[in-house]
């Protein structure tokens, strides 16, 4: 029995790996589908949509969150938005965009952006608001203006928290970009949604590729976070950990 299970399991995943690298003839389609070329094409579109949406979300949410945090106003807004953001059904966002705005890249980007905004705004707020007050007062003491306080003190010290928010937003967006084909933008999710074209191997291949892409983006942003974190902050963390 275990043998049957194992070959079945390897078989399905083996087919999926095959599907990623070489075009396949499926029982559903006369033309060959899958293969590395199509994977790269759909993957490229997936990455493009993700970064456009993430960029737009950052442009909107980061300044808003940082300003709210700087003046320590609107904790309830940040909290409610952060919580509500988790409750937005991903499927509904894409489906509503397709139904009410229509197909098209800009509509998909707008829809995905909505999923990126809540975590980035909440984290920017919390990150800036929880900066040690003595550091801010010291900055004011040496004559810094509001903008300098934000740019030179609060933002650098808030990098870890802000980047957590950006990472959460990015993961939401990559994940939801998988169902963008429902709104006419063909991403890696096409392998999943058009099961009647790609077959089960394609569905599994899509799932694997999307998971790998998400992990890659997560790792990339974690690296960026490391680069952006001020050295002093890293030092004090490793000291307090020791």
């Amino acid at each position: 029995m275990p043998d049957v299970f194992l070959t079945g399991f390897l078989g399905t995943f083996g087919d999926a790996i095959d599907f990623i690298f070489t075009p396949q003839t499926t029982r559903f389609q006369t033309e060959k589908v899958g293969g590395i070329d199509q994977v790269l094409e759909l993957g490229g579109e997936h990455v493009k949509v993700t970064f456009l949406a993430l960029g737009a979300a950052i442009l909107i949410a980061l300044p808003a969150g940082v300003l709210l945090g700087h003046y320590r106003r609107g904790e309830m807004v940040a909290l409610t938005l952060g919580n509500a953001g988790r409750g937005i059904p991903e499927l509904a966002v894409i489906a509503l965009a397709a139904a009410f705005l229509g197909f098209g890249l800009e509509n998909v980007v707008a829809a995905l952006m909505i999923l990126g905004i809540p975590p980035i705004l909440t984290n920017a707020y919390v990150g800036v608001a929880q900066v040690d007050r003595t550091a801010v007062e010291a900055a004011r003491g040496v004559g810094m203006r509001d903008l300098e306080v934000i740019g030179k003190v609060e933002l650098p010290l808030a990098v870890p928290t802000i980047m957590s928010g950006v990472r959460t937003g990015a993961i939401n967006i990559v994940a939801t970009a998988a169902i963008a084909p429902l709104a006419g933008t063909l991403t890696l999710g096409d392998f999943i949604i058009s099961r009647n074209v790609y077959g089960d191997a394609g569905v599994l291949a899509g799932a694997i590729l999307i998971a790998l892409l998400a992990i890659a983006i997560e790792l990339g942003l974690a690296g960026l976070q490391y680069l952006l974190t001020p050295r002093g902050l890293k030092l004090s963390r490793s000291l307090s950990a020791a």
């Binding site: 919580n83 998988a178 599994l204 694997i208 992990i215």
Partner: protein
């Protein structure tokens, strides 16, 4: 639950414009008459969705509790558990649903397993934070009364950790309500399946989306009331709010 509440009201609405067939054919923004006539079709998907969420969160809570008890006196296990649950959390939900298919087949079992795995990260991390935040004086007092480790955990540490634990449960539940809509790709039922069926029908989309959002808010409210009931001795506002903010903003790597 919602539909049953408005059912008596609906029965009284006699004077209705019957010209709503046009609205449905033209796929109008919201066909109220159609919605009034067809509310019954949303009862079962809503109930299925509720079951999906409750089963997953309860299972996730039990497993997370087990992990937390295990790692409470063996601190070295904490990074391992946070790391493991964190990796799962990074995998997009739609991928996880489909990656489980070869093992568990299409259907609600797969959906429940995936949703449970998702809740682990948030709930576990919050239980650990809650236990860490227990004031040492409270622990010492317990010891002074001659409590064993287990008694201390049950009577002092867990009760004092409720704000963080409930904060985690709230976030996990709200997320699960939303993520469960994707269960349709793994052959699961619930509001997601209904939503998927009405991709070309605006009224249906708005109804299913509305029901999902209302359900998330309702769960969140119930849990916050539950917390008042569980820990009535606490003046909850500041600590609870701090716990919720912390739970919302932290990620696995920061824990």
């Amino acid at each position: 639950m919602n539909s049953s509440a408005i059912a008596p009201l609906l029965a009284q609405v006699e004077l209705r414009d019957r010209s709503d067939t046009n609205c449905v054919q033209d796929n109008g923004t919201f066909c109220l008459d159609w919605a009034v006539d067809n509310y019954e079709r949303y009862v079962d998907p809503t109930l299925e969705h509720i079951v999906l969420v409750i089963v997953s969160v309860v299972l996730g809570f039990l497993i997370a509790m087990g992990l937390a008890v295990l790692s409470h006196r063996r601190r070295w296990l904490i990074p391992t558990f946070t790391g493991l649950t964190g990796v799962i959390y990074t995998i997009p939900s739609i991928s996880l649903f489909l990656l489980l298919l070869p093992f568990t087949g299409r259907g609600n079992d797969t959906a429940v397993i995936a949703l449970t795995l998702y809740t682990l990260q948030i709930i576990y991390r919050n239980i650990v934070t809650g236990l860490n935040n227990v004031p040492p004086e409270a622990r010492d007092a317990g010891r002074g009364m001659g409590m064993t480790d287990n008694q201390l955990l049950r009577r002092v540490e867990f009760p004092l950790a409720t704000p963080e634990i409930v904060a985690g449960l709230r976030i996990a539940t709200v997320s699960t309500v939303a993520i469960a809509t994707l269960a349709v790709f793994a052959g699961g039922s619930g509001l997601g399946a209904e939503m998927y069926r009405s991709l070309d029908f605006k009224t249906g989309l708005l109804i299913t989306t509305g029901l999902t959002v209302i359900m998330a808010i309702a769960f969140d409210l119930c849990l916050s009331l539950f917390q008042r009931f569980l820990a009535p001795w606490q003046a909850p506002a500041p600590r609870e709010r701090r716990a919720r903010l912390a739970a919302l903003t932290r990620r696995p790597a920061d824990a």
